[in-house]
Symmetry: C2
Subunit: 327 residues, 2 copies
């Protein structure tokens, strides 16, 4: 039987791509994507949710593949005009991308929750699967560096990940709650997939919210390593690992998620680590995980769902040989 | 002696053009433009100030002359993307124009007054004369029609001035105060010029603020008729007059401002009304007032300053034959 309730957790580009792969293999109503909001920030007074946008745009097929953020074929006329007016322009906001920030901020000001606003945006963009922000509360990832703490976007964009990372702090964690929709989705999940997103700044913020990790542990759950042959496909994960004194590689990812998930998908390039990871009590599936193009995303999703079926009890799931949606 | 302290009052396009003409004839520090904010409104949660923008853009030489609002050579990519997201798109905001709204709103959210924000924007846009919003408080022009009251922009843009006007109401007038800068500028004005803006929805909101009309009366002051040969150059002034049971023409404009100013500039096409207007106790100057291009603006400004000099006491003012700034 095919899965009818899969929950994926995602942050940026890698996570969004696997979510898109899963969307190609599952019925729209069978997939829920829980998205990190620790990267959110205020820009000219607007609320920007970079990870939510990356997931929404990728699922809608309008993401900018080259730059890894924003919308495809966008222009930068507003930003161009903002500079001379004295506004900060280090965060690159495209014109069509800005429309999303404006509409989201408008609805938030009107009193809608981020969960409700995200549903409106997803529907407007023609996104089938349910996309949920991890929380409607404010939780902000702060990067701890030798020069002090900084906002994630300041570290990530303004400083281009240059400062050395010595730790992370999730501001607001004392009071932030996972949304009810997130908790319920996890409770009824047949499979939980931790997408190949940065473990420290994309997935840990989600898993840190009260009740989340515990619910993941109680469900069939697997993670997909974002590290291939010691390097991150995109983003600062490997650099962060080195700076934190960890060896970038699938075993370290396994160590990070052992106790939370039961299985880890690693790249075939890392198949040599299988025994080491299995010794941590995790089941392992090695597969090509680079996700070249939409068909590569669907291929990895099929591996994930097949492996998930094993973890969920061994019943064969017919996930099909072909994506459900054209790439 | 040339004027060293001229105060102009302006609303939309006509007012902005004469303000630009005056800016060409006077030293930057000699001109203050007080601008109507009764047209301001909220758009997607941002504060838009259409008249302030028209004046700023026109003084900066970046106004869109064809459409009468917004910036020259602008694009509409954000608005294009907003539509499918369910946002209202009847108010046309260009991309570069939006940068102004974003920056203004950002600074207002940070706690700066509209007067302070306008100074920042004017400086950024290279505008020499001082541009002052009439108030830092909220005063909103409401148009009374047989179908009920509506916001000015709803009447003006969304409904294209189609509803019949039966009156106006300035919401917030009970509490709104003219800014200190406005009151002081008027107190020290050697000449006050009511630019050829709509008398009911551009100039009356300014004149209605406590202390303004009284200060104008105490200074040498003149108005420039926005009606030429019974028609408004731009906008709904003539239509409004007819609907209010008034005959569109220079005499009606004279009647409207008699008791507030001492002189009226009318178009040469209306020179036949001179005696009728003089009978109301106003001095009259007839001149070509259509303001074709920047040189036409400067030409009318020279007439205004020359006439103003007469009203101010007859001393000849050398305003020069040429604009101070290139067009």
């Amino acid at each position: 039987m095919p899965f009818t309730r899969v929950v994926a957790m995602a942050g940026g580009v890698g996570g969004a791509r696997l979510a898109h792969g899963l969307a190609q293999c599952l019925a729209a109503e069978a997939l829920t994507v829980i998205v990190n909001t620790g990267d959110d920030f205020e820009w000219l007074g607007l609320t920007l949710c970079p990870d939510l946008d990356t997931v929404l745009y990728t699922l809608a097929g309008i993401e900018n593949r080259k730059q890894g953020w924003g919308r495809a074929r966008d222009t930068g006329h507003v930003l161009e005009a903002l500079g001379p007016l004295g506004a900060p322009t280090w965060f690159h906001v495209g014109d069509r991308d800005l429309a999303t920030h404006l509409r989201r901020s408008e609805l938030l000001w009107k009193g809608y929750s981020l969960t409700e606003v995200t549903r409106v945006l997803a529907q407007a963009l023609g996104v089938g699967p349910r996309v949920l922000p991890m929380t409607d509360d404010e939780l902000r990832t702060r990067v701890v560096t030798p020069e002090g703490e900084m906002d994630f976007q300041e570290y990530f964009v303004k400083r281009a990940c240059e400062p050395r990372v010595v730790g992370f702090r999730f501001e607001g964690l004392e009071t932030a709650q996972a949304s009810q929709a997130v908790l319920e989705a996890l409770e009824h999940a047949e499979l939980v997939v931790l997408c190949p997103s940065n473990p420290y700044v994309s997935l840990d913020p989600i898993l840190s919210l009260p009740g989340i990790r515990e619910r993941v542990r109680n469900r069939p759950a697997l993670a997909v390593s974002p590290i291939i042959a010691g390097a991150a496909v995109k983003g600062p994960a490997a650099k962060m690992m080195r700076e934190l004194g960890l060896e970038p590689g699938a075993p370290e990812i396994a160590r990070h998620f052992a106790g939370t998930v039961q299985g880890l998908v690693i790249d075939t390039a890392d198949a040599g680590s299988t025994a080491e990871i299995e010794a941590m009590g995790l089941r392992v599936r090695a597969a090509p995980s680079l996700m070249r193009g939409p068909s590569g995303r669907a291929a990895l999703a099929r591996v994930v769902l097949d492996f998930g079926q094993e973890l969920a009890g061994g019943v064969h799931v017919d996930v099909g040989d072909r994506p459900r949606q054209a790439a």
